[in-house]
Symmetry: D2
């Protein structure tokens, strides 16, 4: 029920044989990554250098049907994308993958992340005469690769060169006329992994759950800074950018974004959440009757809290699973009823009980206040709210929509004030020092906690990330 | 993940004042009953005797948008319906509510259930010159009411008279030019209840979760055999058909169909499932490491099993929540992967563990076999399958699609054979004698367990219920 | 550009062999009858007694695509319908053909016309307990046939009996489990004919242009009062109702409704219009430079006027052929520009000229005034308006939407007043005594000219034809 | 009924005041230019430098509805485009106008024509690192303007500079943050004109019929080579490229592409066609009974032939006006019936007659042969086919799809052979020397007749124009 949204999910497939199934393989992969982006999606199929693409606003199973998949035709390479879109307008033009044609053939790029210096790069490219048809930073990436491509002998070397210019978060699936290339930025902000099917198809995906969906066996994560090339010659890796910077995987991937059945950089997301629940139970012991989780991301942590505390685990809510993109939200007058429609309390579980409720985080606090109120309305005697994340106190520039500090309740209120505003009996945020426990103590395990008040590993965005478009136009519309 | 489907859900609203919101109130109610029928849906709004309707194949949030709701206009009465359709073809013509016009004004009927003597009634009506435009038994109900209406002074008395002719399961929302009427068959096979909003609107619904969704406070269940009339004069009840027969609520409403946040006839569905889990733990104790539930209906019972047995509760699966009506199912060649797409195992939870898995029931056994296989593939050492229902051994004629005995694994195999076929280490079905424990021991608590080998409280259908249409045509097409 | 609309067009096909093409044959037939109804359309295919249907609001090529046609499946019988709908609301429920199921099997009815005593018949049927699911009089026809079917040995005899009860205009395609039956009311208000393809399929259609479209050779018109049965035994005709009343073909079929390439009752529509133009030239000689027709129905008559008068024929207008059902009409502020969008003057033709402009008729006069103004704006020195119909002075009850006398300019103004209101230099209406010249002097050639002040051959409608629905509800909503 | 298609139509509007109507003004303009392109369309509205766009495959009234127009919002500038697309695939990505963002603000480009050196220019740009997201030459134009924009002080000067590089046919509507700019290539292959509404809005359009549609008064044609700038300072013209080359308006605009109510470069299209008919009557006198035109482009010329020859003009055909993009074409087995569906003969007009039939041109000859056969089937004694164009013997590189010489009947057969192949009694092509008579003898009246065997004023395309895409990929896919 968090109001937070991830930017994107990517999928890429290389098949040693041309097949009509390749578009459907990407479809099922995207479908299992739908939680990473619900605004638009797209698939590009590569038939021996000729690219066929279909993309549109909507969920994967709205945008694609048998007819649109059939039209994508046969191919041995394909990439796909689901998008939420934290930068750039929610327009069809911004749907990915982006396909560009240049002197060396076509290229498709699917991107998850956010380039912090895209404003500077864009300005620089524009001064050389480049034109941009979208407001997405993915077009900037495509340009940089293309520029380098003129100076290099192959696309992977062009990518390698372009990475020197790109700052920020990027996990990419790049498709050239005959290669599939997986790229992850040198700090590894966003996840990326690959697997192999029994019949020899390589599948690259943002999360391992997409490999499960298409029947591919997980092979390994792409390393931060690594470029992995899949083609008829097999797999090849370029590691020039590896191990130059400490790893900075977004800790919120574990807390909220990723699916619990995914493993990211060797750590089960489900396990990370259970551990967060345990940590909360240790740090915030409560005399209560039942532990419930707010679906879906609070459920795993509730199990952890219950196990650690010995308080029984219960089912507190039913979430309506039929919510679709076309759902008609209640008008202002009916707004307060929205929680009941999407999420209803199981009164049986909470009536007369002292309840520990686990959720992932608090952004503005509105949703949490509503849920707490519903629990009390259903008869809960006490409500203790436990969050599997520290308080949000700063913006994220690496591919999520944690933005606008003025909207963040924790950036403007003390924990006690938040407890009062939310209306709960007590409140517990996961402590910063517990974050590393979620993902284990292996060497080379670093994470980004900038939005919780930590360091910004790749700096802040150089131009206003949010409302980028408006600012752009305001600065320029007078010029001509 | 059961392959079973409920027939329908109904909603009705009476507002003391005309309002443009009435269509949206029904919309939110239907949306929360979507689990009761995903094939088609419809809403009829009554503006002072003039009925405006919209119905179509599809989910509630596909069929309705702001424009279609606006076109329904203002009104003080409205009824709605979601349908799966166990009888009659899945055609737009069979979508409900049915609107009929006759000498006393228009009438809309929304029906959940199945009339076992509809074949006889239909033949009788046809011999009097009646014509049928659908293959649904709801049209038979509408005819009977209309016929009686000619002999009676008001619609409620006509309904009362018609009920003498109707055999089987029916929970109805009937709308006349100025009344909303809730009707439940005299054995109460299907649930029906009503509530009241703060601003004085009465809401009738199949399940109490729909009352929560529209902000209505639950008042009470409609009694088996009761007719409740809502209009400007208030509420009135006719109980001529009450207490003539023992109650026969479908026990499978508790096991699977209803939402766990609903209460049916005074019993929380969630509680009933938790109790079923407890009973399984008592009857089938297992030496295991983790208890998991198959989403969604097995989760509540898993909590009950875990509590009773002391074995830890775990999250075993992630269910893809974006599955829509337009989802492209994999072709035959990819069929075995379907389970991974809809439902994926959380490997972290089960690897190296002895697993107790709770599901609601087994129909053909295919799905269960696949799930067990996935658990083993993910590293489960043992899988013990516990079902919150006894084995299906016979057909249902009261509004579900448990049909065709030849397809029912339990009608053709012993429990041991089933265990082998499914591939689990042990299997436990809820015992028949435990069913009554699910719903308590209050007086007047009876239930229908015909499909588990119990009695058929209202007899079997007199004409072939399934493939009704084909048989009809086969017998008739030669006649003319 | 007339604001008048026909009610409907019908098509029926009997093929001696089952074929997947049968739905497409009806599709092409309906497509060529699209001018007879643009609101909704439908096709029903009969596969050995099992009826598959698809109908919806929209044009033929919006409602049907390869997928919907494929779903209709194989069959040896099919009927189709295009509808404008002068009676009953423009709702999907009112789309035809109507399919009803009764004791003797299914029946589909497609109807062009209007039953004047449908109000009485409906009330009578309702008093016997009949229910109506549409507001269309076609349902009344279906009921009457069904009632008689119980007393007769075959459907054609049931139709024959029902015709004694039906008053008004009806050309029907009726489909039983194994027969296609064409029926025309005993005065022949609406056209109906049949043809035969080379491979032995019989095709019934409202106009002969539909036979051309599907490659069928015209055989003959159905006679007024005739019932023609097509089945595996060949063709059979029942003529009990023939020659009981004088023929009353709607003269406006020739003037406006029908396509000029159709022949109706032996007379070419194109020829009838040319003759009307000639008659106008004789009765209203004008000293002019050019004769132009308002597309499309005025073009043929303009050729006749030009030939008779010796004044050159010219192309005066371009009509936008891409107008679709979804065209966005200009708002009130832009309304005056609407004529330019749909119809633009060819300035080259009229600048500096004295223009004779031929149109079919004047209803409210608004359109004519706009067109005359456009001609003057384009430089026409004089505009003489010639109409191929006498003035509309009364309502039509036989299947067109000439209604509401208060809206008819000619019912409320003299010819001189009309000339002034329209803004033309002179105006000439076809004289009543010329009407018969349009369709020749063969014996048994009668026509209906009621809307021009003639007799009503079948009387006026017994209940308010227009706004039937509202009246119905007003009289009834208080009853219950 | 010609199989030829125009590439595109463009519309641009500058309003001195911001208005919500601006999108609708473009909509009506595009709607009246629909004959110039039916594959895709788009509108871009400029609200003070922020561009909102909507474009898609489909007809104007399918792609746009009130909701999509509302979303375009308010603005003082807007451009629109309808496309057939002779170059580049029929993909949504190729829909226009193209919107690009660069350092000087956004720019939208709508293009009618074809750049013959686009292959060279594209290669040159790609070597500088440019990327292309479409296969349309319009993107090349946008790049060239952008590159020049970096070196110039305003967009109009950038366009002026870019025109030195562009060879071929282009009529453009360019929109910058605060200017609307109309551009026509220096030979004026494609038409372009502008008008003014009473409330001060300037409207640029491919044809004057679009000005009529939106209520703008025609002001003048854009001169070949001219750049006209519309903004708050009024109108300004740059004529550096004017009068450097002889004018080469596509003569086929008059013969077929343009609407007869349009005037192009001072000449009425209707008049040009009438004159062509007259010329045919002089050069090919026939002893016949009736002159008919093939709709729509043959009708005007038939009037001219009839006037000159004294043979009566008649209506020979009815064209189905409801043909839409979604019309289901008959399968191979039914192909021969297609002519009857789209176009039916009025038998009354031709039976027993010697017929002169006027059409615009013959491409492959298939359609003409079908039509002649239909006339004979309907009873025509003789059929004399007159074409208002000389024989097509060569390809067009300037924005039409006259391509592939191997398909052109006249490039491979003598006139006598064509007459035999078509099956007519005689055949007459407009003589090359008559072409100039169609458009008058004013000074500076030149035209392009390259496809009829004349000179190619701007040379042939330097890369294969047709199947451009495939060749591109073939040459490149091996490179990487």
């Amino acid at each position: 029920m968090s109001e937070l949204r991830e930017e994107c999910g990517v999928v890429g497939v290389f098949s040693p044989r041309e097949t009509y199934e390749i578009g459907r393989t990407v479809y099922y992969g995207l479908y299992s990554l739908q939680h990473r982006g619900q605004e638009s999606c797209g698939i590009v199929v590569n038939d021996d250098g000729v690219f066929a693409s279909h993309k549109d606003l909507g969920l994967v199973n709205d945008v694609f049907n048998n007819s649109t998949l059939d039209e994508l035709g046969v191919g041995s390479l394909a990439v796909g994308h689901v998008r939420y879109g934290t930068t750039g307008k929610n327009e069809r033009a911004n749907a990915q993958p982006i396909v560009v044609n240049h002197i060396k053939g076509s290229m498709a790029v699917a991107h998850n992340g956010n380039i912090v210096n895209s404003g500077d790069l864009r300005r620089e490219l524009e001064l050389e005469g480049s034109i941009f048809q979208t407001t997405s930073d993915t077009e900037v990436i495509a340009y940089l690769i293309t520029k380098e491509r003129l100076r290099t002998d192959c696309i992977e070397n062009a990518i390698n060169a372009a990475m020197h210019r790109l700052k920020g978060a990027y996990s990419l699936c790049v498709m050239s006329p005959n290669k599939l290339i997986a790229v992850r930025d040198d700090r590894g902000f966003r996840p990326l992994c690959y697997g192999l099917t029994e019949d020899g198809r390589y599948v690259v995906a943002s999360e391992s759950c997409a490999l499960d969906a298409v029947g591919a066996k997980f092979v390994r994560d792409i390393e931060p800074g690594e470029i992995v090339i899949f083609n008829h010659d097999g797999i090849r890796s370029i590691k020039d950018h590896c191990n130059k910077n400490p790893k900075s995987i977004c800790i919120f991937e574990y807390i909220y974004f990723a699916r619990p059945d995914s493993k990211i950089d060797g750590i089960s997301v489900h396990r990370a959440r259970v551990e967060a629940g345990r940590a909360l139970a240790i740090d915030y012991p409560v005399d209560a009757d039942i532990v419930i989780g707010v679906p879906d991301s609070g459920l795993d942590a509730a199990v952890g809290y219950a196990r650690e505390s010995g308080i029984p685990y219960g089912m507190g809510f039913v979430k309506n699973k039929y919510i679709g993109r076309t759902f008609i939200a209640p008008g202002q007058a009916q707004r307060e009823k929205l929680v009941n429609i999407k999420l209803n309390v199981i009164e049986e579980t909470v009536r007369g009980k002292r309840v520990v409720m686990i959720d992932d985080s608090i952004v503005r606090g509105t949703t949490s206040r509503n849920i707490v109120e519903k629990l009390r309305h259903a008869g809960a005697k006490e409500v203790h709210l436990m969050l599997t994340a520290p308080p949000f106190v700063d913006e994220c520039y690496y591919g999520t929509d944690v933005s606008d500090k003025s909207q963040l309740i924790a950036a403007n209120h003390t924990v006690d004030e938040i407890c009062t505003l939310i209306g709960c009996d007590s409140i517990g945020f996961l402590k910063m020092e517990r974050l590393h426990e979620m993902i284990g103590t292996a060497p080379n395990v670093g994470y980004c906690d900038a939005c919780f008040g930590g360091e910004y590993p790749a700096g802040r965005a150089t131009t206003g990330k949010f409302k980028f478009e408006t600012k752009l136009s305001e600065s320029k519309k007078k010029e001509n």
